[in-house]
Symmetry: C2
Subunit: 466 residues, 2 copies
């Protein structure tokens, strides 16, 4: 920290310091992609990830987290500076061709070269927990401030950022507008008990207010006006689920599409969305998943199962038949559990459609196959191998009378939902959409299993660290 | 709604309907950008925006909200179909060169042509409120479900989506990772009273939990691990501000940059970020802001003030001197109000830096000009002409002892903030960052003044419709 008590210095120094132009210190990603010529001087900033010393030479790995790439520093000579794992440092040396295996370039620091220098920017205490060897995920979860520096965790973040960029491109290329439905809502649409309520001093909103569990209903209102709209926004669920697949705060990708009369274009669109983003990742595999502890075989198998031939589509009814042939004893109206879901998706992603109306929310359109004994809705769940549900979607009921009827069947308060019902009275349009758990998607593509590790500060029952 | 009770039909129809491939109905944006040849048949879907009938010909404007472009339909002959403003329709006709002024193409519908057809998809009631003439913003605010269909409101949404895409590109090009700090937090960092608390059944999180007012502290932890990180995420403030510049729920763009020793690269970066995104918009002005009721002169003047020469930079101290010369009577430690801010930014955007430490939060680094009589911090506010504050940022205190001292001065609970303080003990790095109200930014560029109109479902004191 720079501090001066020379009040006289103030104006002149400040003027220079405010007016001079300067750029940010380059990241390692920027430095590597600029391909500096061999022999040039490079100043690298980052954390010391590992250290290896021998008599005449020392080795230092430096990473700044901007990329999975690590700078290998060679410390030449007997008089080597002392570093600790975890310190933030700046090393200035010569960019050199490497003699080591598998590394094409390295930074050579020679204490005798007056042009070379190093600085320890931030020290670490002796018990700094993030040593090279001891970084299991369960251990990292105990370090809410520091876990982000672990290479695998940082890879998750970069992967997520990349996938969001690709998703944005995909939706832009498909004529969608990205919008922001509200997260504070006065309607608790999916049923009580799973919703967080907001404490209000002095009746702040003048009505009860909740955190949204899904932005769908509001997104419908917006997307009907824009033809197609999507969002990637936080959702909140007060479920008591302490599993590796649930969070109390998570991001959800939701999309709504107008002029949709049938379910299958929605399935095709969902499939293409996921395949398209996955394809873009295949070319960047090295960049996003190298240098991690993730199982490369799992990654390969997940990606190839996504990119395989057209995904299987079967109705809930067909799913029951298939599962019953395998020894399940399911009747119309029974839920499919995780074991059933995994059995159906054993050989690749599968869309299960047309679930019983009784199992699904009020807003879903009755199926083409609707009949009074076994009423079904035009909906789908996308199930992934060894993973379970990733996406859920449906056509939305666009007919005023039928919507009212469905809401009455579910004993809903029509007055609270007047704003939503109105959409069916004023230039209604057949439409549909879906929601995809964003962390689940990134987790699946990363080859990992626990969505909590994808999230910098996960929130779940009993879990609100920092 | 299609409904059948023929149970026998079920399997065969369903199989076809699930397995056939088909694409989505094209949006008007897609149709126009495909440049269909004159004479081709086109099927257009959208809302009827306006109608003009004469004896031998009728005119219909159709918009689907995917673009600001409107399809002009010419209804040929005496036997014209009857439409109502607000109906959702599908019209199939011939893509023709227009005889009208200023319109190069139109869709010709001829009832005698067997290849032409139309369908009224969704009717409107007689009192449908969104007629061509009567759409003031204050009127639209009374229509939470339908206002999105007004051309100016829809333009805001498309503009916002475009700007987010450009911002993503900008940050990707500058080696940033987009991340998601938590929105539910156990620390109330900016002081009590402005924070919403979450109601918890059965002590859900096992501690009190709040909605974040700024993701900065968590973003610091993440960005230190990645060198640079940014987020665009909702923030929540329980302020009793019922102004056109405040919302209880808004989106904030926040960025944190490591290895930053001085304030001025942060100012340059902020300036370049805003200029870069604005430049990309200039080329697309017609696409995003035509067909709206926005004042084109205001838009031009705002854009040119942003894109003008280097923005002025002055310290809080210099700002006081300047304002006092103009007759203000300000002393060190006084706040600048909106009138002061607008005076300083009269001729263009201005960075005001180095505010008194007493006015700013604990985490800001002491200024280069710090002295014990007039202690200041290395921070900035970006003020815009006729608008006020858009961005606030600072260097963050990275020294452990000094941070503790600042926290003690502000009587903070050190135990709650242990996770944050730890960052200064473990490989600390000089760093800084800023936050920008996303709706304010989009509003400013749109030429509009009220940020509430930019938001599909605005939340403010007493305002939580739908």
């Amino acid at each position: 920290m720079i501090r001066t008590t020379h009040a006289g210095l103030r104006q002149s120094v400040l003027r220079r310091y405010l007016r001079s132009k300067s750029t940010l210190a380059p990241t390692i990603k920027e430095q590597i992609s600029a391909s500096p010529p061999i022999g040039s001087t490079l100043e690298v900033r980052g954390f010391v990830k590992s250290i290896r010393n021998s008599k005449n030479v020392g080795f230092l790995d430096i990473s700044d987290g901007s990329t999975s790439k690590i700078i290998n520093v060679v410390l030449v000579g007997r008089e080597q500076p002392r570093f600790q794992v975890g310190e933030s440092v700046c090393v200035r040396g010569e960019w050199s061709a490497s003699k080591g295996k598998g590394q094409d370039k390295e930074l050579k620091y020679n204490p005798e070269n007056p042009n070379h220098s190093y600085e320890i920017i931030g020290e670490v205490p002796e018990d700094y927990p993030l040593q090279k060897k001891a970084t299991s995920m369960s251990f990292l979860r105990t370090l809410p401030s520091l876990k982000h520096r672990a290479s695998t965790i940082a890879s998750f973040y970069r992967l997520r950022s990349f996938l969001e960029t690709q998703m944005m491109d995909f939706f832009n290329n498909h004529s969608f507008t990205k919008v922001t439905p509200p997260l504070i809502t006065s309607s608790d649409c999916e049923g009580a008990g799973e919703t967080f309520e907001i404490k209000q001093a002095d009746d702040f909103f003048e009505k009860r207010a909740y955190l949204t569990v899904s932005t769908q209903l509001h997104l419908e209102a917006i997307s009907l006006a824009l033809n197609r709209a999507w969002t990637l926004a936080p959702c909140f669920r007060a479920e008591e689920s302490k599993t590796s697949r649930h969070l109390s705060e998570f991001w959800m990708l939701e999309a709504e599409i107008s002029y949709l009369n049938k379910l299958e274009p929605l399935l095709s669109f969902t499939e293409e969305m996921i395949k398209s983003v996955t394809r873009s990742l295949v070319e960047r595999k090295k960049e996003y998943l190298e240098g991690t502890y993730l199982d490369q075989e799992v990654i390969e198998s997940r990606w190839s199962s996504i990119l395989g031939s057209d995904w299987r589509r079967l109705t809930y009814h067909e799913a029951l038949e298939e599962l019953n042939k395998q020894g399940a004893n399911l009747e119309f109206g029974d839920s499919l559990n995780l074991v059933h879901e995994r059995a159906l998706a054993e050989n690749g992603p599968v869309f299960v459609t047309d679930y019983p109306a009784s199992m699904k929310p009020f807003y879903m359109l009755k199926s083409l196959s609707y009949n009074e004994n076994e009423p079904t809705v035009a909906c789908f769940d996308l199930l992934l191998p060894q993973f379970g549900e990733l996406v859920g979607g449906s056509l939305r009921e666009h007919d005023y009378d039928t919507l009212i009827e469905s809401m009455r069947e579910k004993s809903m308060n029509l007055e609270d939902m007047e704003w939503y019902i109105t959409l069916r009275k004023c230039g209604t349009i057949p439409h549909g959409g879906f929601g995809m758990g964003w962390e689940r998607f990134v987790t699946y593509l990363s080859g990992h299993d626990n969505i909590r590790d994808l999230v910098p500060f996960p929130r779940a029952p009993g879990l609100c660290k920092a």
